[in-house]
Amino acid sequence: MARKDRMSGNEAVSFAIRQINPDVMPAFPITPSTEIPQMVSTYIANGEIDTEFVPVESEHSAMSAAIGSEAAGARTLTATSSAGLALMWEELLLAASNRMPIALALVNRTLSGPININCDHSDGMGARDTGWIQIYAENNQEAYDNFIQAYPIAESAGVHLPIMICQDGFITSHAVENIELLEDEEVKNFVGEYEPEEFLLNPGKPIAVGPYSVTSYAMEAKKNQEIALENAKDAVLKVAKEFKKISGRSYGLFEEYKTKDADYIMLLIGSAAGTAKQAVDDLRAKGKKVGVIKLRLFRPFPADELATALKGAKAVAIMDRTESYNGNGGPLGSEVTAGLFRNKVMIDTVNYIYGLAGRDFTVQEVYDIFADLEDHIENGTKLEQFKYIGLR
């Protein structure tokens, strides 16, 4: 039975880790994810779990040790943020190409410079092409629920890929909010035992991991990895279905909020989705046909599904909480518009950059964006297709 509680996003993820009791956790502290290894260490110190914690000397070593541990046959996780994820970059690629279902709790924080500890998605988005499954959370509840679903997704047959469970630094990681927790036993049964078929520590059955590959094999290996990532989409849905049975909470590739008859839709990721939903309620009360789509699964990217969901709208605001430095918009903007074009859904889009390095994103700004879209469609006001909001 569900248990009502209140905790921060970091506490929630740590609590999920406690319930899963993974085999090994190598980690290096970095704000704002530091609390996770601290809390896990405390659980271990108190004898509540018997995970082996490896206090590595850098994030690069954290992911390196995680790959070693996972290849050895142990269920492994780590946690990081920002520069920590950037330092792991090489190893992120290897975790994926070696097909290691490692879980990573990413607490999103902007990348330097300037150095800043607050939230945006530049870390996670910077790692978007490393071959990891990426799932983003709106609040502590989703961070918790997503983490519980992480291993069942990553370890699925046909997937075997690492998974990043992301939440917004400080905004959810350090905010205490209400949450419903599952019982330990429910989580344990849901996640199950990890029983890899082949692993380094299988006596008499040696394996070799991480070859040098000549061109003749490398391209084929990359294609196989791509197929595995595509398979993750089904795994995400399948696991969500099972998860609903124990939690009553539904998850998909993305959440559609009042979009059915919406003329204007805001598409975004993470904690700002809650703010946008509040604004949508306020605007609906005034008769505005507006809605929100909150993307949950960013990798693999559900381009076709999003195009279908957006088809009926007159205009869409695509919200990126990171700058891509490509002169052409943010990553979400690029991918959504590519998906719309390929599906021949020719609706107006505006790609907004918001909330960089912790810049607050408010209900008022959501009102303003919807007003801009409406003005553009109704009155033909010209609107830049790529712009910043909340900028002085």
Binding site: V54, E57, A71, N98, L201, A208
Partner: protein
């Protein structure tokens, strides 16, 4: 001291025969080969001679997981789908063999503790890295793994330059060596700096065991150190000089002579640090001049041009200084 058992004198057959039989070479060589033939290392490579010697120290009933830093050894020994390793093997990247293997070792602890592995099957953990992956780019990861005290052995096969990428200098490259990033020329006499003494640095991590060795004709010194390193609980480090005929520019068949000269000139001292206690494991009866070691290799050819005598003197001074320092540490 074991120098009597461990003679390096290649001209004395009788002595050699005695030496060889003293640690039951036949038994040693009859063990199952753990590094299969068919790898793509250069003909005459020192690295695989070293790997074979280390793996022979594994007890036959024990399993092993080998980790490998990117380098010659890695790209040549596991080229898909050909692996030369009879044991489980993991290559991750260039700079992180220490961290990778510490993850494997921790997994072993975790899985054993949880009863997920058979009780009576034992695994040992050995990392191999070249001097690039060990002294330089992998130094942090190595230092971390050593400091945390994982029950593993990190073996550096030290051939004194980045051979895999084409003989660039490393911090293990000896002074004055001609490499592709310290080329000799009108304004250059090769590498300007002395080599880093990594074995001492790791010893100062206060690890369980550190051994420095190379190839002697009977491999007794290396064998004993490898066995101690593998079977001493905690973190251990072996630094093995493994000459590279291509980078050092000598004929492949001369490797054993090169090693002998390295040891007899005290360029490559043989020592161990066993739980903090420094032991000299071999002392030349008569220390040979460093030029004997240098002359044998093309990378030092420029030192023998007229007018460069002072460079050899300088090299000798450095060798002497380090040797005296080592004798002091070993309480000699």
């Amino acid at each position: 001291m074991e120098q009597n058992l461990n003679s390096l004198n290649t001209s004395d057959c009788v002595n050699r025969r005695n030496t060889v039989s003293s640690y039951n070479v036949k038994e040693m060589m009859s063990k199952k080969e753990r590094l299969a033939p068919g790898h793509r290392m250069c003909a005459g490579c020192g690295a695989t001679i070293g790997v074979r010697a280390v793996l022979r120290a594994l007890h036959e009933e024990d399993h092993a997981v080998i980790a490998n830093a990117t380098g010659c050894l890695e790209v040549s020994s596991f080229m898909y789908p050909y692996s030369a390793w009879e044991d489980s093997y993991i290559h991750n990247a260039f700079e992180n063999a220490g961290a990778t293997l510490s993850g494997v070792e921790t997994a072993y602890k975790a899985l054993k503790k949880r009863g997920k592995l058979p009780k009576d099957e034992n695994f040992k953990f050995i990392a191999f890295g070249g001097d690039g992956g060990t002294y330089d780019i992998g130094f942090q990861s190595l230092s971390g793994a050593m400091e945390r005290g994982h029950d593993m052995v990190y073996v550096c096969y030290d051939n004194g330059a980045y051979m895999n990428t084409g003989i660039q200098r490393s911090s293990a490259t000896p002074m004055f060596a001609d490499t592709t990033t310290t080329p000799t020329g009108k304004e250059s006499v090769g590498k300007m700096q002395n080599r880093k003494d990594l074995a001492s640095i790791i010893a100062d991590h206060d690890v369980a065991y550190v051994g420095q060795s190379t190839f002697t004709l009977n491999f007794n010194d290396l064998h004993k150190k490898a066995e101690k390193a593998i079977y001493t609980e905690g973190a251990s480090f072996l630094n093995i000089m493994t000459p590279c005929p291509r980078g050092w520019r000598y004929n492949t068949e001369d490797i054993m002579e090169i090693c002998r000269l390295a040891v007899e000139t005290c360029y490559w001292p043989m020592f161990e640090v066993d739980h903090g206690k420094w032991n000299l494991t071999y002392e030349p009866k008569k220390k040979l001049p460093i030029e004997d070691f240098l002359r044998a290799q093309g990378r030092f050819k420029h030192l023998f041009k007229p007018g460069n005598e002072h460079l050899i003197e300088e090299f000798q001074k450095e060798v002497d200084r380090r040797w005296e320092n080592l004798l002091y540490k070993c309480d000699r």
